[in-house]
Amino acid sequence: MKVLIPGPLLSYTKSREVEAAGATFAELLSDLDRQYPGIRFRVIDEQDRMRRHMRFFVNGEQVFDLARSLRPTDSVQIVQALSGG
């Protein structure tokens, strides 16, 4: 599925939009990390919590649970919050 990447993570993907796969949001993040090593830890901490200033959306709906299921036709957005300093 298509994943929209925010500016701060372009150093990993070199592209605003990438392809990644997974039956859940957690699997999708694992696939992104396999393709772009290190990217997951910048947005999810070691306790599998979403980092404070990152937001995740599937088809425009915010995701709070890494176990959320995904379909291949879904569209995913990773967004940095308007915060951070």
């Binding site: 701060p8 993570l9 090593p37 290190g38 830890f41 910048r42 947005v43 999810i44 901490d45 070691e46 306790q47 599998d48 919590r49 980092r51 200033h53 990152m54 940095q80 919050a81 915060s83 951070g84 300093g85």
Partner: protein, 404 residues
């Protein structure tokens, strides 16, 4: 990183010069210096000429990243590690093996173990402090994090592993306190010092949490806080009330440590376990609060501090708007002000705990970075200061290394 290994490794075998008031030149003279400057918005490398008068800027590296520490490995003179995060992205460590020409991210940055579902595990907010390991352990590094955690790498900073003997110790976890019990931007583990005679002998400090020693490479730890004061009205037997700002081991005498604490300046001469407050002889109107502590590379009686206003609401600015370093050349009995070249008044910046350091030349060069983004240097042990750079972001750390 100090050329003489302020944190220890390169100091192995150096002859103690404790009785020398002003060590005579021994062919060291001046030489080119690399100054590594870590800021709230990126990192800069400054390279000097042989006289240390002229400096070339190289940067920014990682523009927009919060760089808490940038350190060169004195064992190879090539490997740089940078502790980084951004306002939005999680913490990581970047590595360069060509003095900053190219960078690669650590494959496994410092991170606490994942706890089972339902248990509240800790997460590294940022890596705060980096210390190269002992000279005999090439590729080994230590990192201190916020919240307080100690991590070790044995592959030049590519992968990091928690030092469980500290991080999982229930007594230590209690002393570390919660997120509200530390420095304003999070409680920290810092001041990792390695005994140049023994790679298993470590010191570290926590803000808050006190000063601690390990003689078994971090498997077990014991506090060394006797003699240290805490804020009035608090119980000094409770380690979580101790706030050591910066602890340094003397490169020329590993049995001597100095400390700038939240409550004064101290010296410790092992095997004693009792710190002696040496800041009481500072001028009363200046006081003995501050963050950095810099030790002469060859004289364990000579240290420099940079006082800060720690009264009332803790402004963390130059006391009375007047900036100046202070030096003692007799292990803390007397202090002299060193402010020639600095602005004479209305100075409201200060110097953070990693933002002042020395080089290994003779006379020693001193360097400090300010919270207002100025980089200052002295080619003569603080007798006269000159500004190397202005208009940088807030400076968090300054280290030096010799350039060939």
């Amino acid at each position: 990183m100090n050329i003489a290994g302020e944190n220890g490794p390169m100091a192995a075998g150096r002859k103690k010069a404790a009785t020398t008031k002003r060590p005579a030149a021994a062919g060291r003279g001046a030489g080119r210096v690399l100054a590594l400057v870590a800021t709230r918005k990126g990192a800069w490398l400054y390279r000097s000429d042989a006289s240390r008068r002229s400096w070339q800027a190289d940067g920014p590296h990682f523009l927009g990243h919060i760089i808490n520490h940038l350190v060169l490995d004195p064992r190879d003179g090539q490997t740089l590690l940078a502790a980084a995060k951004t306002g939005h992205l999680g913490p990581t460590v970047f590595r360069s093996t060509d003095l900053g020409r190219s960078w690669k991210e650590a494959a496994q940055p410092p991170a606490f173990p994942k706890l089972p579902e339902g248990q509240k595990g800790r997460a590294v907010d940022h890596t705060f402090w980096l210390t190269p390991g002992h000279a005999s352990e090439r590729g080994t590094w230590y990192a201190g994090t916020s919240p307080q955690g100690l991590f070790r790498s044995e592959d030049g900073g590519a992968t990091w592993h928690p030092v469980s003997g500290l991080n999982d110790n229930t007594q230590y976890r209690a002393w570390m306190g919660g997120e509200q019990d530390g420095a304003p931007d999070g409680p920290k583990l810092h001041s990792i010092n390695i005994d140049p005679r023994d790679p298993k002998h470590l010191y570290m400090a926590m803000s808050s949490g006190g000063v601690h020693e390990s003689t078994d490479a971090g498997r077990s730890w014991a506090p060394i806080v006797k003699g240290l004061e805490v804020v009035e009205g608090f119980d000094r037997s409770n380690l979580s009330f101790h706030d050591p700002h910066c602890v340094r081991l003397c490169p020329s005498n590993p049995d001597r440590l100095y400390q700038q604490n939240h409550c004064g300046i101290y010296r410790l001469d092992r095997p004693s376990e009792e710190w002696v407050r040496i800041g009481k002889s500072m001028p009363k109107k200046v006081g003995d609060v501050g963050f950095p502590m810099v030790i002469h590379p060859r004289d364990d009686d000579t240290v420099w501090v940079f006082p800060m206003d720690g009264q009332t609401v803790w402004p963390r600015t130059s006391p009375g708007g007047i900036a100046g370093a202070y030096v003692t050349r007799n292990a803390g009995r007397t202090w002299q002000r060193l402010a020639a070249g600095l602005p004479e008044g209305q100075v409201w910046w200060t110097v953070k705990r990693q933002a002042m350091t020395a080089d290994g030349h003779d006379p020693v060069g001193l360097y400090f970075g300010t919270t207002s983004g100025e980089l200052w240097a002295s080619r003569d042990e603080g007798s006269r200061w000159a500004c190397i750079a202005r208009h940088l972001p807030e400076i968090y750390a300054v280290e030096t290394a010799p350039l060939s």
